[in-house]
Each structure stands twice: as C-alpha cells, then as structure tokens.
C-alpha cells in the first residue's frame, strides 16, 4: 500500500514540470488549462505512477530498466488517453489515424517525458523503499513438509504444494521416494505383456514436481516424537508435517512358498521380469519333449481376480498367443491359463452383470477359473489350491493380497487425513485406511489417491496457516477393466459399457490420465505400432541364477 502511495507521488511529481512546461509554453488548449483539465492530467499521472510501481514492484530493476518501463508506459498512456479516451470523452469515435496522432503530438512528447521522469523518480524512491523494507523484514519461516512416497498420492500432493506455494503458502516441500519416477500402475499389465515400453508408463518425479526438493532413497524409520524421517543412508530429514503416501506391498499371509515362487506385480521391475520370464518359458517349451515339463512351462496361474489379476491373465494370454507363431514347437492349444479367486465371482469391484460378462469373455478364450478357492502353497513347479488340486506351473502371479508398507504401524486416519495417534502426521493413498463420511473406507485406487494427495496438501497448508482442515469427500467416478484384445468392461457413474466401446474408453481415459504429454505421445505410438507389428520377443535380461527354467 505504502509502495503504491509512492508510485502516485512519483507520478504527480513528474507531472508537475511537464504540466507547467506545457501550460506556460502554450501547448495546452484553454479546455486543458481549466481545473477539470488539470484534474484529468493529475489523474493520468497518478494512474501511470501506480501502474509503473505495480510493474516494477519490489525489485530494484536498475535505472535503465525503470526509465525504459516509464517510456513504454508513457507511450501506452498516449495511445489509451490521448488517442482513445479523449475523443470518446468528447463524443467522437477514436480514429487512431496519422492525422489524429499528429494533432495530439505535443501530448505524446509530454507523456513520454512524464513516463521517463516518473521512472527516474521511482528508481530512487523504490531504492530507498527496498532498503527500508530489508531492514524491517525478518527471514520468512517456512514450514518443512516431507512427503514420503512417489506414487499417485505423493506426487499429487507435491504438485498441489507447488501450486499453494505459488499462491503464497510458506512451505518448504521435500519428497522422498525409493523410485525416481511416478509409475502409472494401470498400464503395468501391458508392460508385462510387452505391449508398452517400461519407461513409457513412468514419469520422472523431478520433472513432474519440478520445484519440489527430491530425495531418492528409502526411508528406514520415522521418529514421530523427534519429528524426523531417517533414511536408510543414515540421513535425517526433520519435518514440521509428514505426509505418508508409501503405498502397499504384496501380502502373502505367510503361506508356504508363495513369497519365494510367485511373481508380484507392484513395480516396473516386476512387470519386466514377468515378461522376460514368459518369453524364456516359450523358448524352452519350443524344444522341450517331456509332456509333463511342457505342461509346467506352458501353464500360467494368476491368484486374485481383482483388476490387476484379471487384466494380467488377459494380457498374458495376448502375449503368449500373440507371439506363438515364432515358436513352431508350441501348439496353439497347449498354453493354459488359470485364474484363481477366493470370492464367488471375479472383479468384486464391478457390478455382478459386468463381472459375469468379463468372466464369460475370458472363459470364451479358454482361460480357466477356480472360484471360491485359495492358493495354499506354491513350489517351483506347482501351485496347490485349498481343495488340494495341484496345478503344475512355472508361472505363478500373486495379486491376491496387499498390505500397507510397514513404516508407522497401521495407518488409520480421520476424515481429514490426519493419522490417528500421531501429531503432524498425515497419510494418503493405499497405505492408509481413510474413513468415508458415511462410515466405510475409501478403496485403494488411483483416482482416490490423486484426490487424497490434493486434499492433504490443502489441509496441511490450511493447518500451517491456522485454518481448519476439510474432510476428504470423493465418490468413485467409475471403474474400468481391460480384458485383453479389444475388450474391456467399464462402469462410469452407474452406466455400464462392455466390449470395444469399453476398451476404447479404457484406452482414452487412461491415456488422458497418464502424467506428462511426452509419455502420452510415446504410449500412443506404442499402441499404434502394436496394431501393425507383432509383439517383440526380445528377452532383455539374462536368466536369473535361480531360474524357473531348468537348463538341461
């Protein structure tokens, strides 16, 4: 405010010599010499002064810069006032013609001179003002925020924090993650089936949240009492507010052999390993003669028929049959796919009709299912179900259980995302049990995590600023599940879609959600090329030492 006052003063002060010169040298008409004319000129001068200080606010730009700004503003002022407003005021339409410019030429010179003078004055005034301000101002205290986790929730929170800082929130945000990219998990199954390149579905955090301090590292423990996060490297990060978005890890319920012999599907490395493994099995099966071993090699079992499991079995089917023409030793009828699920129908997140549709589509391709059954044991070459059925297989994908990443015990929050039992700790995403306002819990999906990230950032900023946090409210917009080649099922705001329409919806919606334009374009290219070229069978990693493919 004080600064604006100085701007007005400088504008007026500069107007004085210019006005006097114009008046005494007979360059102003009688009308302009009237009190109203002087008043209008003073008003113009104040406006120019105010605009100039607003333009050059705060920083000492240097004499040349401020004076240049003054000249530019003076010219614009001439365009606006003398060429436009003045004719309008006299009830004429402005013509902006060369003749009009010639007529108002004295005012142009006056305005340019006035602008330059205002700039000169402001330079010195603003200089003094900045010095005074510097003495008065204490260094700003910024609340230290540490976000742990680089998934949807963590990155959404960091991006929201950046926006809030831009709007003036006093925050210093650090994001810690053990991967330096945001993984777009809905497309993970397509990476496992070789339809997409691994790097194309992941966006570097450093670019997604470009103004957040990023730490690549694993968190060892959190000390809520001392308010610090200890990294495995030994480094400690003190915080004023901690946002946990650490996601979940596979939960095997301590069943024998499962942790050792199953493929999880949580990160990029899992997906790449699964793809390489499947291709290696095909290579082995091509020249394998023993029927029992062939059956093991060509049977693929997925436990858990949620989104991840269902999409995975469909994608594995597409991969194996999509490349089987390369392997003359493998008969098209040989590969076997089994989906094991503990519930009485697959895809519990979907309505019963769509779930039935999905199951029918899968079954029509020959994908077997075992409902109401659990996997009780896994070994190198077989899987045992709880009805004692043995399925010989070398490929067993486990998507039947997840648990929050253990860091602070179980993380249950209140409706505004604060972790119960801890001060200044907030939790979002898959790692937290977040109650809905009507008593249930929010499902662990990406669409919820994204909104939770935004809300937690708003709430932390509100808390820091001394305002009350808001409740997290969000109703699932819709669910989409891809069922392999050109088929999907979707339920969006209660409307159900199936088949090609749903598949196009799936691709369109997830493509639009993929972070970053570059990755969108790359994925679009991958998909387009996939239309005209067969899938790649390049095995990109050497066989692991304890391979499930026995070398004879």
């Amino acid at each position: 405010m004080e600064q604006l006052g100085w701007g007005a003063v400088a504008g007026l002060a500069a107007a004085l010599p210019v006005g006097v010169l114009m008046a005494t040298q007979h360059m102003a008409s009688a009308q302009e010499m009237s009190p109203a004319g002087w008043l209008a000129f003073a008003a113009y001068a104040v406006v120019v002064g105010l605009v100039l200080i607003a333009v050059a606010r705060g920083s000492r730009q240097g004499l040349a810069m401020t004076a240049s700004a003054g000249v530019l503003l003076g010219t614009l002022g001439w365009l606006v006032f003398s060429l436009t407003l003045e004719p309008l005021f006299h009830g004429q339409l402005p013509t902006w013609s060369a003749a009009a410019a010639a007529k108002t030429y004295p005012e142009l010179v006056g305005n340019v001179l006035h602008g330059a003078l205002t700039g000169l004055l402001l330079h010195f005034v603003a200089g003094v003002w900045t010095l005074k301000l510097r003495e008065k101002r204490d260094p700003v205290e910024r609340a230290r925020i540490v976000v742990v986790g680089g998934g949807f929730a963590g990155v959404a929170a960091a991006q929201r924090f950046e926006r809030l800082v831009l709007r003036g929130a006093k925050l210093d945000v650090t994001l810690v993650s053990d991967s330096n990219f945001l993984l777009f998990t809905p497309m993970l199954a397509e990476v496992a089936s070789g339809a997409l390149e691994p790097a194309h579905i992941s966006a570097p955090i450093r670019s997604a949240a470009a103004h957040t301090t990023f730490h690549h590292g694993r968190v060892d423990r959190v000390d809520p009492a001392g308010r610090e996060v200890v990294l495995e490297s030994g480094e400690t990060l003190p915080y004023d507010h901690l946002v946990l978005a650490v996601g979940s890890v596979p939960h095997t319920f301590d069943l024998p052999g499962i942790a050792e012999h199953s493929f999880p599907l949580k990160n990029l490395a899992d997906a790449v390993a699964l793809r390489n493994h499947a291709l290696r099995l095909l290579e082995a099966a091509d020249r394998e003669t023993d029927p029992r071993t062939r059956r093991e090699l060509l049977t693929f079992v997925v436990a858990g028929a949620g989104f991840a499991g269902t999409e995975m079995i469909a994608e594995l089917f597409d991969l194996v049959h999509g490349v089987s023409h390369y392997y003359p030793g493998v008969q098209p009828s040989e590969p076997r796919f089994v989906l094991v699920h503990a519930g009485d129908r697959i895809l519990p997140e979907l309505g019963p009709e769509l779930a039935a549709y999905a199951m029918e589509r899968l079954a029509a391709r020959g994908i077997e299912h075992r409902l109401n059954l659990r996997v009780t044991e896994a070994a190198e070459d077989l899987v045992r179900l709880d009805n004692d059925e043995l399925i010989p297989t070398r490929t067993f994908v486990w998507t039947a259980g997840n648990k929050p990443t253990p860091l602070l015990g179980s993380l249950t929050t209140d409706t505004s995302l604060r972790v119960e039992g801890f001060e200044h700790v907030w939790a979002v995403g898959d790692c937290a049990r977040i109650p809905t306002v009507d008593g249930g819990f929010h499902p662990p999906t990406a669409q919820h995590a994204l909104r939770q990230g935004v809300t937690v950032a708003d709430n932390v900023a509100a808390f820091v600023a001394g305002r009350a946090p808001v409740e997290f409210r969000f109703r699932t917009i819709g669910v989409l599940v891809a069922l392999g080649h050109r088929t999907a099922a979707a339920e969006i705001r209660g409307r159900r879609f199936a088949g090609l329409v749903a598949w196009l919806l799936w691709r369109g919606i997830y493509l639009s959600k993929l972070p970053g334009v570059e990755k969108k374009i790359r994925v679009l290219f991958d998909w387009t090329l996939d239309l005209v070229f067969p899938r790649d069978i390049v095995v990109t990693a050497a066989a692991p030492r304890r391979s499930k493919v026995r070398v004879r």
């Binding site: 004499l63 614009l76 003749a99």
Partner: protein, 477 residues
C-alpha cells in the same frame, strides 16, 4: 548457519562491487567523454555538410561557425560523460551500447533541440508536429551521435572488458549469407550483404525472439544510415535529412526493417543449425528440450494472442478493417473478418510463445517484448502480407504508411496485451523463483544479462520508431 554464510558472502560481494563501481565510474566517465567526443565529431561532420553549425552557435549568441563547432563539441563531450555513467552498469558490448546510444541520442533530441534549446534562447517550446518535422535532420544527427558514441565507448573499453570478443570468420559468414538471402528477397542484395556483415558485430548469443527485435531496430538504423545518408552522399553529394526527403524514402523503411529482422533471424538460425551439426559437446547445444512444458507454453501463447486480439478488435471495429481482412479468405463479411483476425492473433500469440518463452522476467519485459513484436508484425503483416494476401499492391510509400497508422496503434496495443498476459500466464506455470537452486540461478543470470544488455533500449527504440512515423508521414494540422 546458511543464513550467516549468505550474509557474509553478500557483504563481501557488495564491498567488492562498490570498489569496482567507484573505479569504474571514473573510467566510465572518461570513456564516455571520449565516446561523446567521437560521436560529436560525426554529428559535427553532418552539420558542416548541411551548414547548420551557425544555428548551434546561436546558443552563445554568435553566428561564428568555429564557435558553433566548439560549443557543439563541448556539449557532445559533456553528454558523453552522462552516457558513460549511465551505461557503465550495462553490459559493454558493441551490440548493446549501440542501442543504448541510439535511445540516448533520441532522448536528447526531445530534451535538447525541442525543449531546452528554445528555453535557453527564450523562444516558445513547441512540441508540435510541425516543429518536430522541421527538426527531423537534428534527430538523425542525434541518432548518429548516439550510435557512434556507443561504438566508440565499446572500442575504448574493449581491453578491459572480458565479454568483448571479435566476431569470428564464421559469424561474419553467417551474417553475409543471411544478409544476401534476405536482401535478394527484398531487392536490396548489396545493402543486405553489408548489413549482414555488420550484424555479426552487434549480434548477441540470444534466442530468436530477442534477435528479431534487435534486427528490427538494426534495420531501422540501416534505413537512416543507408537510404537517408550514404546513398544521397554517394550519388548526389548532398545530405538531406529533411522531412520531405525522409518521406520520399519512406518506402524503403519497411524494406530495411524487414531486412534487419530477417538478417537477425537468419543469422540466429544459421547459428543454431551450425550448433546442431558441428558441436560435439551437448552442454553447448541445448539447456532444455522443447517438449512438455513447451506445449503448455504454446497454449498460453494462444490464450495471450486471444486476449491481445480482443484488444485489437476495438481498433479494427472503429476503423472498419474487418471486411478487408475477410478478403484474405475471399469473403467480405465483417464476421468472417473477425474470425480471420482472431485466428491470426492466436497464431501470432503461439509464435510469440515460441520466440519469447522465458524471456519475460517481469511485466516490463513482457510489455517490452510484446510491443516490439507488435511493431514487427505491423511491418510484416499489415504493410506487407495483408496486401499480398488480399491481392492489393504493396504500398510502402509515406501515404501507405500513413493509411496504416491506425493498424500500427492496434498492433502496439495487441503486442502490449499479448506480452503482459503471456507473462502472467507463464509466471503461474513456470515459477522460476521457487526453490530448485539451479533453476533460480540460471534464470537470475539470464535476467541480469537481459537487464544489463540492450533489451530495454531495444523496446524503447522500437516504440520510438513507431512514434517517428507520424513525423515522417504526417501533415501538420
């Protein structure tokens, strides 16, 4: 801890600069005086040819030519000291000081012959068009004075200036190629060659947008130099800088402006191509890929173009130019004209985003680049392409320029709105002042370079060119 270190460092740096500045101020004053002397000598040469030295002598109430020369040289030297002090904090390279010299000269034309001289002589001060037109030769002389003083200042400082480097053979070659190519298109091959070689001297390592503005100003200076000065001297051995003579040669002004802009763009692009093809060190090639945020910048450009286009619409409606614009697509309706106008406004907005992305560090620079860009497009768009697209003859004569003046006002308003809105939008998305030390450091350096460079001088000079136009082509009321 960090804070204390920062303060200590700050104090140390500040002390060093204070010392440096104190020393530099004396040097700058001396160098400025010498530069002013050189500029004064050039100006005096033209005064002698035109027989104007006696007028200068009237300040000391004689009409002795020698006294006039002495007075002139004293004033020139004193003004030179002021020039030296003013630009001692700017980046002292030829490309930069020439522009500061030009506006310094122009500024003194307003303040000297138009204001102070009549006051001293006890005559009425008249800022009207007629006297400005009468004083046009003096303006040319002042511009010459400023340019020569700017160059002389650099020459005097080049031993001590670490930033000074002589243009390499490659740079001159680039200038020649660009100059010849653009000159052939415009029918000014020889002038193009010379101007191209000269551009290598004043070029600065910058992106296409700022180069374009530099070239625009450079082209105008060449019009004064080549069309108004050298050619008459060579062919008729006279030096006529009167308004009538300038108006006669006004048809060459757009050509020279486009020549300068074209040379600057060509020179910059040839440099880019050479960099891409022949540089094996990636650090020198690019600092940031264009994608990602670049696409968003394009969106912002389109939006800013829309805002500027709406401001421009006011002028278009008042002047009734929409039907003319509509002829570009073979229609005569004002609505079609409005649509075409807005589409062009958006396309130019996008091009502004490409050319001036991350070049506006505050509102001043946003408006400055925008105004300059608007002026350039008046020359290229309104004076040149619009007639070409609507099948009308291209009319660069004084009358044609006068007829295009409302459009110039519109283009300037468009540019100012475009630059200001784009700056606001970019500020939202590209908060360069936020954390990330490297980003901040890079931007601060770029900003300092820009402020210490000639950017503000170029904006002001572009506006000045726009203001000279009524003097050139207008008829006093």
């Amino acid at each position: 801890m960090r804070n204390t270190v920062g303060t200590d460092e700050g104090r140390a740096t500040k002390g060093a600069t204070e010392a440096g500045r104190a020393m530099k101020a004396r040097d700058a004053a001396i160098a400025g005086a010498l530069a002013g002397f050189a500029g004064g000598a050039a100006f005096a040469g033209t005064l002698t040819i035109q027989g104007q030295l006696a007028t200068v002598a009237s300040i000391v109430h004689t009409d002795n030519v020698v006294a006039g020369l002495a007075v002139h040289m004293v004033i020139a030297t004193i003004l030179g000291v002021g020039f030296g002090l003013l630009i001692s904090r700017q980046r002292a390279r030829a490309g930069e000081t020439v522009f500061w010299g030009l506006i310094y000269g122009a500024f003194w034309w307003f303040l000297g012959p138009q204001t102070l001289l009549p006051l001293v002589l006890g005559k009425p001060v008249a800022w009207d068009l007629a006297s400005a037109q009468a004083l046009l030769p003096s303006l040319m002389g002042h511009l010459l004075y400023g340019a020569v003083a700017g160059i002389a200042f650099v020459v005097l400082q080049q031993d001590t200036d670490p930033l000074w480097r002589n243009p390499s053979r490659g740079m001159v070659l680039r200038g020649l190629i660009a100059g010849l190519a653009v000159g052939l298109v415009l029918g000014l091959p020889w002038e193009g060659l010379l101007a191209g070689a000269g551009y290598a001297l004043i070029a600065s390592p910058e992106s296409t947008g700022p180069a374009l503005v530099r070239g625009t100003v450079y082209g105008f200076a060449w019009w004064v130099f080549a069309a108004l000065t050298v050619e008459p001297l060579l062919f008729t051995v006279t030096l006529d800088w009167s308004q009538q003579a300038a108006a006669r040669d006004a048809h060459l002004m757009p050509a020279y402006v486009l020549l300068g802009a074209g040379i600057a763009v060509g020179y910059t692009w040839l440099g880019l191509i050479a960099k891409v093809l022949f540089t094996d060190d990636i650090r020198l090639v690019r600092t940031e890929a264009a994608g990602k945020r670049g696409l968003r910048a394009l969106g912002y450009g389109a939006l800013s173009g829309l805002a500027g286009g709406l401001v421009f619409t006011v002028v278009m409606v008042a002047v009734g130019e929409f039907p003319l614009v509509a002829q570009m697509i073979g229609s005569h309706s004002a609505v079609a004209g409005f649509v075409v106008h807005m589409v062009i406004a958006q396309i130019l907005g996008i091009s502004y985003a490409i050319l001036f992305r991350r070049r506006s560090f505050d509102l001043t620079s946003g408006i400055g680049w925008g105004l300059s860009y608007g002026f350039f497009w008046w020359t290229l768009g309104n004076l040149t392409l619009l007639p070409l697209f609507t099948g009308a003859p291209v009319d660069w004569s004084a009358a044609g320029i006068a007829a295009g003046f409302p459009s110039l006002v519109g283009h300037l308003a468009y540019g100012a709105a475009l630059g200001a809105v784009y700056h606001r939008l970019e500020r939202r998305a590209n908060p360069w002042w936020q954390t990330r030390s490297k980003v901040v450091a890079e931007q601060t350096v770029a900003r300092r370079d820009q402020i210490r460079g000639a950017a503000p001088a170029m904006w002001v000079f572009t506006v000045l060119i726009a203001l000279i136009i009524p003097i050139l082509v207008g008829t006093a009321p």
